[in-house]
């Protein structure tokens, strides 16, 4: 796939300025910067805006832009992609780095209906949630971070727990769950970074947020089930599940003999949230 693209790229003489690759200095994870050329999602911090004129490159007219060719080659793989889910694209090459998982789909997003755009985001969130529930699969799906999933998890948790709180505490509970989820994931991430871990901030926040999914499920179940004998094992399982899933994603954070120090706050975070679900 990548060699394929390189051929077409060289033919167009578009990437003849290697300074682009060197300037971003992510050339090892990032052998096909052309894939980012589809101007649909520019949220990844690793990818510079592609409409900035590069040094040594003459500005090209949009008609003659080589985009159609490239997206054509990618589109051959993304036929299967758009039909199933994004995960098909991710495993296809080791060279696909952070933030490129969704970039590969060569669909023209300019003239599609808004509902299609929203649904694609939702499908992405869904694929990642599936990944959290079964963490044995491809780990790099969560490397393409987004904050929609964590926001959904956080809102669901806050709403469910505030519904079940005492009448005079509903607003406090909502506020505090919201704060605890966001501040908690941010603090856990910053803590790992301060200990010297190799984590990317938003990616880690995304993983921690997505891994709340088992706990959200249990909190929804607890609306109807009030027996402590059912909720206690459920919360325990969800706590273990969330911790296990997030550990799997964060395992390569390069913390040799201070791994426990980085992992402990994560356990604390999930434990407190599962405790609040248990007693709510």
């Amino acid at each position: 796939m990548s060699s394929n693209n390189h051929n077409s790229v060289e033919a167009d003489d578009f990437l003849s300025a290697p300074s682009y690759v060197e300037a971003t200095s992510y050339s090892d994870t990032y052998d096909n910067p052309f894939e980012t050329n589809i101007p649909q999602r520019t949220h990844s911090p690793l990818i510079e805006p592609d409409d900035v004129p590069l040094p040594g490159q003459k500005p090209h007219s949009p008609v003659k832009a080589p985009q159609p060719k490239v997206s054509g080659t990618i589109g051959s793989t993304s036929q299967a992609n758009s039909s199933s889910s994004t995960s098909g694209n991710i495993g296809s090459g080791i060279g696909l780095g952070v933030g490129q998982a969704m970039m590969g789909s060569g669909i023209n997003t300019l003239d599609e209906p808004v509902s299609e755009t929203l649904l694609r985001d939702l499908r992405n969130v869904g694929a990642k949630l599936k990944q959290v529930l079964y963490p044995k699969g491809r780990k790099d799906i969560l490397k393409d971070w987004d904050l929609w999933g964590p926001l959904l998890m956080c809102l669901a948790l806050s709403i469910v727990l505030s519904i079940r709180a005492q009448p005079d505490q509903k607003i406090t509970v909502f506020t505090w769950i919201f704060i605890i989820v966001w501040m908690g994931s941010a603090v856990v991430t910053v803590n790992a970074k301060l200990l010297g871990g190799r984590v990317s901030f938003f990616q880690s926040v995304c993983v921690i947020g997505y891994c709340l999914f088992p706990l959200v499920l249990v909190s929804v179940i607890s609306i109807v089930v009030s027996s402590i004998y059912i909720r206690l094992p459920l919360c325990g399982v969800a706590f273990a599940w969330a911790s296990w899933a997030s550990l799997g994603f964060l395992s390569d954070s390069n913390l040799a003999n201070r791994r426990a120090l980085g992992v402990y706050p994560l356990f604390l975070f999930y434990f407190v949230i599962s405790w609040m679900i248990l007693i709510s």
């Binding site: 803590n191 970074k193 901030f201």
Partner: protein, 242 residues
């Protein structure tokens, strides 16, 4: 550089990060890695040394006080207090045969109390001792107060036992041990001031400590806290808690 915040996280500090980070600006995350330069075994050793105060804690820290311990011990104490106080409440509700519903204000109150005690009080003590020329070290002061909170984790867990006498004994042990720990390690700094001023600061430290112990007792480990008024009882500064 137009790259965002996330990409700054990809740095490799695995080898010799501390020397490089000395010259980093104070607003960068890399600047603070020096305060988190501890290993798991070191943190555990410091926690044990603070629970059983037989060695000089400043020697245990070996000249490199950290902020990992103070922050996460304080946070752990907050969450443990929330968990145990909800257990205590549910036990009370069970004894009184009333339906149990949790009180979320325990959490907010614990946040306020513990973070104030773990960060604001050492700051005040540091300021006072600095003013009177004791040459204190702010990091050491923060580490001292932070690690002194360790004993409250087992004490809070054991205070679930619904026997009033046992709770008072546990409270006495917790306050006593951490108080002795604090004063023993603060004394070398305080003794650099005049005797009169050192005595006043010492008494203030003890008063703060007693207030904390009584707040914990009446707010989290009292028998009728489920129906207790929201205002905490007037905390009489009782040095007898030591």
């Amino acid at each position: 550089m137009p790259v965002g915040f996330g990409s700054s996280g990809i740095f490799n500090p695995g080898h010799a990060n501390q020397e490089q980070n000395v010259n980093k600006p104070i607003w960068s995350i890399a600047y603070y890695t020096r305060f988190f330069d501890v290993d798991t075994s070191q943190v555990l050793e410091r926690c044990f040394a603070s629970v059983i105060p037989k060695d000089n804690f400043l020697e245990v820290m070996g000249g490199s006080p950290d902020l990992y311990g103070p922050f996460w011990i304080a946070t752990t104490v907050i969450f443990v207090l929330f968990v145990t106080s909800s257990i205590v409440d549910s036990i009370n509700a069970y004894i009184n045969k009333t339906p149990y519903s949790y009180n979320f204000f325990h959490m907010t109150f614990a946040f306020g109390t513990i973070y104030t005690y773990a960060f604001l009080v050492p700051l005040l003590v540091w300021g006072a001792t600095k003013y009177f020329g004791c040459q204190p070290n702010l990091l050491e002061m923060l580490a001292l107060y932070g690690y002194a909170l360790t004993i409250w984790i087992p004490v809070s867990i054991l205070s679930v036992i619904p026997i009033e006498l046992a709770r008072w004994i546990l409270l006495g042990i917790g306050a006593g041990m951490s108080g002795v720990f604090l004063i023993r390690n603060m004394y070398p700094v305080l003794s650099r001031a005049e005797a009169q001023i050192a005595k006043i600061i010492l008494i203030l430290v003890i008063i703060f400590h007693g207030v904390l112990a009584l707040l914990l007792k009446y707010k989290f480990f009292s028998f009728n806290s489920a129906g207790a008024p929201e205002v905490p009882p007037p905390a009489v500064p009782a040095p007898s808690a030591l």
